[in-house]
């Protein structure tokens, strides 16, 4: 039999406080108030040890024992052989909390670097191609409604570019190894998107009239730009960025989401920029392989960077040349190699 402890007892039927004495014996919690009761220790919900707050014991019949003197409770619980759970012991020690914090930071960093891309890999492997295609079509029709107009290029010119790219891609097949299905769309993007090209999930590639005009004298450069977009399609970057930013956003939401949506949204936004820099490098690598395989010197891409830069001195707002892309000089060097 353990020592006895005196505390407040509420029987679950009346709000009146009674004074009770409790002790442990034979695996039972014994309680002596107006009458004597006992409960199997395993059915009692014991309080977790904390520095603050009342110690409250929840009894299986709805009664509650409440100890205002936390120190007396802790002494009694210790003397009676009640053990804290592992988690509680962990939370009680600053040293363990410190290691939990370090572990948490390491986990978040590793998750950012490897976990999130790996999870996206898994999700992409499970995702049927038709889903991705539907998402891409949905996005294209939204763009068509708000930002894009039908192309002003005549069909002969469109056909010529299509054929040229198809032949280059075919010739490069041994070098690129794989080639995803894609659909090339010509659109007039007006001033909003200007000279631009982008790939949507599922393989829709959009090329704007302004870009075709900008590079009219070097069609091989257009092939290079399209090869870069095909690289995005090959690596399924469109769907991947949605998934990865979504995962980061969810984790940030768990940490501060209930407090401020803006604070929770910031990491998702940062992750989008950071991950897409990696994606641009991957797409550039694919483009370089394709160009070489097709017998086009990758150097042709430098023309693109020069002209785009010339056109948008200072800040620009182009998906193929915004801050989410590695610095242009770095990319120029990459294609010159």
């Amino acid at each position: 039999m353990s020592a006895k402890l005196r505390l407040d007892y509420f029987d679950g039927r009346s709000a009146r406080a009674q004074t009770a004495e409790i002790w442990l014996a034979d695996g039972q919690l014994h309680l002596a108030a107006l009458d004597h009761k006992s409960y199997p220790v395993a059915q009692v919900r014991w309080p977790e040890r904390q520095r603050h707050g009342q110690r409250q014991v929840q009894l299986p019949d709805g009664g509650v024992l409440s100890s205002r003197d936390a120190a007396a409770w802790d002494d009694w619980a210790h003397a009676s052989g009640l053990r804290d759970s592992l988690t509680v012991r962990w939370m009680q020690s600053w040293r363990h909390v410190g290691s939990a914090l370090l572990l948490l930071i390491a986990l978040l960093a590793a998750g950012w670097r490897w976990g999130v891309p790996l999870a996206a890999d898994g999700a992409l492997a499970l995702m049927p191609a038709s889903v991705e295609q539907q998402v891409g079509e949905q996005a294209l029709s939204t763009f068509d409604r708000h930002l894009l107009k039908p192309s002003g290029l005549n069909s002969a010119r469109q056909q010529a570019l299509r054929q040229r790219f198809e032949q280059a891609a075919l010739a490069a097949l041994p070098a690129t190894g794989a080639q995803p299905a894609y659909r090339l769309h010509f659109r007039d993007a007006g001033k909003a998107l200007g000279a631009n090209a982008f790939a949507l999930p599922g393989g829709d590639i959009v090329l704007t009239d302004a870009l075709v005009e900008l590079l009219a004298d070097t069609p091989d450069t257009i092939i290079g730009v399209l090869a870069h977009e095909l690289g995005h399609v090959q690596h399924r970057h469109g769907m991947r960025i949605t998934l990865q930013a979504g995962i980061v956003g969810t984790v940030a939401g768990v940490i501060v989401g209930d407090f401020s949506a803006a604070l929770a949204g910031a990491p998702a936004l940062l992750s989008q920029a950071s991950y897409s820099r990696d994606f641009e490098r991957q797409a550039d690598e694919y483009a370089r392989r394709l160009l070489r395989g097709a017998g086009i010197p990758p150097r042709v891409m430098t023309t693109f960077f020069e002209r785009i830069e010339h056109r948008h001195k200072g800040g620009s707002a182009l998906p193929i040349a915004i801050s989410s892309h590695p610095a242009n000089e770095e990319r120029v060097r990459f294609f010159k190699e």
Partner: protein, 384 residues
Amino acid sequence: MNEHLDAATPARAAVRYLRIEFTGSGSEYFRIWIVNLLLSLVTLGLYLPFAKARRLSYFYANTRVDGQALSFHGDPWRMFRGFVLLVLLMGAYGVAGRFSPTAGFIAFLLLCGLWPALWRSSLRFRLGNSSWRGLRFSFHGDVASAYKAMLPLYVPSMILLLPQLLLDGTPENGLWQGIFAGTGFLAMLLLFPWALAQIKRYQHGGYAYAAQRGSLDVPTRRFYALGLKGLLMSLLPAFVFGVLAAVLIPALRGTGVGPGAGMAVLGLGIALLYLLWFVLAGSYFGARLQNLVWNGTHSAELRFDSGLSFRALAWLTLKNWLLTAVTLSLYRPFAAVNTARLRLEAVSVRVDGDIDAWLAQHSANEQDASGDAAGDFFGIDMGL
């Protein structure tokens, strides 16, 4: 016999004011929070309901009303079932919209159809698993009233969503889309205070403790007054921002600052605008709503008095936001404890009766056997 007499002619107890104290500590909650977070991440989120049960237990054990703390009795495994259900539901809803507008609309309708019922069961779960002095609270609102309370919000949402379903995005339909969006937004603005009044009346009218049944006596027009003032308060930061922009932009132009620096200033301005809005509008609405609702809540022998100061809440929110941002969210648990303290200690309870004589309305045994109050199969706890 004696007992019967006592109940019929209760001894007149003096009116008492019960103080609410919050004894939680930021550094202690920090340790709980870190361990909870770590376990939640390691288990890919599966630990979240267990973390929530621990958090609620900590906050309850540190909320003392008249010297006796509240207790949280929720079973984390039951909360786990509810959590999985909600995740599946929200996941399906999030995915459906990406397929097609029609699928998204159907998912939205389904969610609208389910939401009030889920909301009610979460209220029942939370109240049924809370106790003070050994007596459980309970929630008595019925399903039909839950739907009625939410109805005013559904009408404008439908107006906002319909064009996505009915109209394709051709330019000829642009005008119609504008009309739908405009009416939907206006209807939302006009109906929101009414909806809020209905929702709060449903919540507070359903609360019960011993023989005390809550009711909220606040006329709807006071919710409209609050909504109007809240709207003005949220326009204030935009006004300040506009004035600053009008003064600063010409001034900067004169000094020949490049467009890059101009963009940086603009970005900073927008961040400040958001912060100002979050602090001013959020705190104003939060503080005044708490006071309005709790000062209007009473039962036969209970009244509440809430005097939460807007200025105090705004300062605290500003401090919390900045420190949470600067510490990359490590200040979050301290912020949570400080806010709970400010909000809870602003309230006191006035009792016109003898609490010692209060009895549970049905015995705790019966409750467990019938599994009524706390016995929803899915322990849905949406954190209201």
